[in-house]
Subunit: 338 residues, 2 copies
DNA sequence: CGGTTTTCTGCAAACGATTGCGCAAATGGT
DNA sequence: ACCATTTGCGCAATCGTTTGCAGAAAACCG
């Protein structure tokens, strides 16, 4: 455990003052130092294996070269790609990611965010679903830039990167209509989440566009999970035996639907077509492989990171809300009605 | 963006010197300050909303209260629970996690580790599969404690938390034998990974224990992925048509096997029983739900964190290698042979 | 060649905390 | 009442950088 060389060691080795060494090492200020001393300092630094101490630098410059990312649940397969995308984009600029899980709890969310703020992250990426709207503003008032991902702020004051659910649901609906379906139901996610509510609204709008009825054909699941999806599906089909297709609010709900339909002896896609949403990993491996709508989560992460980088550089960001285009993934859980 | 209060602000408000305020705020040194001043300082700190500056403190004390965790691929569903477990355990002690992805590349791994070391993490959790063995030693020589997880060091010099694959594979084999199988094959993971090799060895040992033959009944997949698993399974069954059961080296390989068997018109579990390994999320949702062996990944994460905390506190850690007991999850992909 | 500008480098003060040391006051013992 | 001890607190140095300021040396200009 030998001590690391400090800037002063480098300066001594190059026979200059620490301040000169600092300037020579920093590309920004290198211009004011003569070429020969720059070379000497660089050589000395290399020779000694000098690495600047991030804490000392941060203390002086009030930057940490870290950004925090807050996700509701890292075990939800949506978020790892998002985190990785962000990590990759930030890494090339020298930033490192601090992660925080909120377990979908409001209280925990605020605790996590304040830890990150206390650690003086330079920026914050929030992927949490529910949030007192004041939190983002509070963070910004500390001088920390914020970007939302997979969620938009109610007043649009915070830049956000989100998937375009209206288009995405439209893709699923159009696909089913093209196959010839007209009695289409919807297993909706919880309306307290913007994704749950937004997709449900989109479903209604698109059915209306096709002149199809939604009366009583929407059943809300309490949570984006398999079991609530199964429960909601049972209710939905027992109430609407005429249905030939179901659009689920996300893949987990679709998997629940699949289970419920199997249990009820309804074959998919023979008796009932089914679409999911998100294109979660491995939904291509269930039987039948699920037709779903894929969102570019990794790209959302990189875009959030890039937006944040722009903000931190002090550049203005336009437009505030970026909607990424989803893609329909047609697999085997949908076919024309009998 | 109002400036945060510093220790000096608190000291002034409490009408004491900064050093006194520091001692009053730190539970360790609080004893040397009189009770009345402690109360005054605490009140002032609360009043002003004082939060210590982590960089300033870190610079002085040479600690960052951060721990790095290096994983090969956060999108692999094994790792998020591990990360979360570690995060939860570290969080209660005030530590924050820095994450690093290596993309399974040796070069990238070293780069990631050195960024974390440069950032002066207090400890490091390594979940990377392949690693020049010198790396851990190099990190330790910088005064940074290291714990391995899901991997053990060749010389056992670094504490490690791993699943007990010998027992786990034994559980799968015993289960199949109890069902009446005797012609059992193995789709093995890549032998360059300790998990691939170890499980294959365990498979041989357990078959031998039951007096069963393994001749030609092992096929190696190039990588722990679905496609290689399918390829290896095709080869395996075409070479050994007598097989009635297959033990796959992990769940992804099992899913590949499932696909290959489906394509070949072999029904699971009717014609062929199949076990996976890891109990990945959602493998209970494929058709048929996969019988597999579950490892407590989240607990591995928390144990790694606790071990690391002990190391950082300067406590000795015994034993060096902790093997966690897996659990068999019997689902529908296994049944007695016809 | 004198004076002005430019170029380079060093000095020292930050950034915000922690901590060894020493001094005063308070306490205790006889 | 006097000395020894303890207690409580302030002083100042320190961690490793960055950066405004100033001064010396060099370059330039007419």
């Amino acid at each position: 455990m030998i001590a690391r060389p400090t800037l002063i060691d480098v300066a001594k080795a190059a026979d200059v003052h620490a301040s000169t060494a600092s300037r020579a090492l920093n590309p920004e200020t290198r211009g004011v130092v003569s070429d020969t001393t720059v070379a000497r300092v660089l050589a000395a630094a290399k020779e000694l294996g000098y690495r600047p101490h991030p804490l000392a630098r941060g203390l002086r410059t009030d930057t940490t070269l870290t950004v925090g990312i807050v996700v509701p649940d890292l075990e939800n397969p949506l978020f790892p790609p998002l985190v990785r995308g962000a990590e990759a984009a930030l890494g090339v600029e020298g930033y490192t990611l601090l992660i925080g899980n909120t377990d979908n709890e409001q209280e925990h969310t605020e605790a996590v965010i304040s830890t990150l703020v206390d650690r003086r992250v330079d920026g914050l990426i929030l992927a949490t679903a529910e949030l007192g709207s004041g939190v983002a503003a509070a963070v910004q008032s500390e001088g920390i830039d914020v970007v939302l991902v997979n969620r938009e702020s109610t007043d649009g004051s915070v830049p956000a990167i989100i998937g375009d659910d209206h288009i995405g649901i439209g893709m699923a609906v159009d696909h089913l209509v093209e196959l010839g379906h007209s009695a289409i139901g919807h297993v909706a996610g919880p309306p307290v989440l913007s994704t749950g509510l937004g997709r449900c609204k989109a479903f209604k709008a698109h059915l209306a566009r096709h002149g199809l009825s939604v009366d009583g054909r929407i059943e809300v699941a309490d949570w984006f999970q398999v079991a609530p999806g199964a429960r909601a599906t049972s209710d939905l089909v027992s109430r609407n035996p005429e249905l030939t297709a179901i659009v689920a609010g996300n893949d987990l709900l679709a998997l629940g639907a699949l289970r419920a339909l199997n249990d009820a002896g309804v074959s998919v896609p023979g008796d009932m077509s089914l679409t999911g949403y998100n294109d979660m990993p491995f939904v291509d491996l269930v039987q039948p492989p699920l037709t779903t709508v894929g969102l570019p989560y990794r790209e959302m992460g990189t875009m959030a990171a890039q937006t944040l980088l722009a903000l931190m550089r002090g550049e203005g960001v336009e437009p505030h809300v970026t909607r990424l285009r989803p893609a329909l993934r047609v697999r085997a859980s949908t076919e024309s009605p009998r």
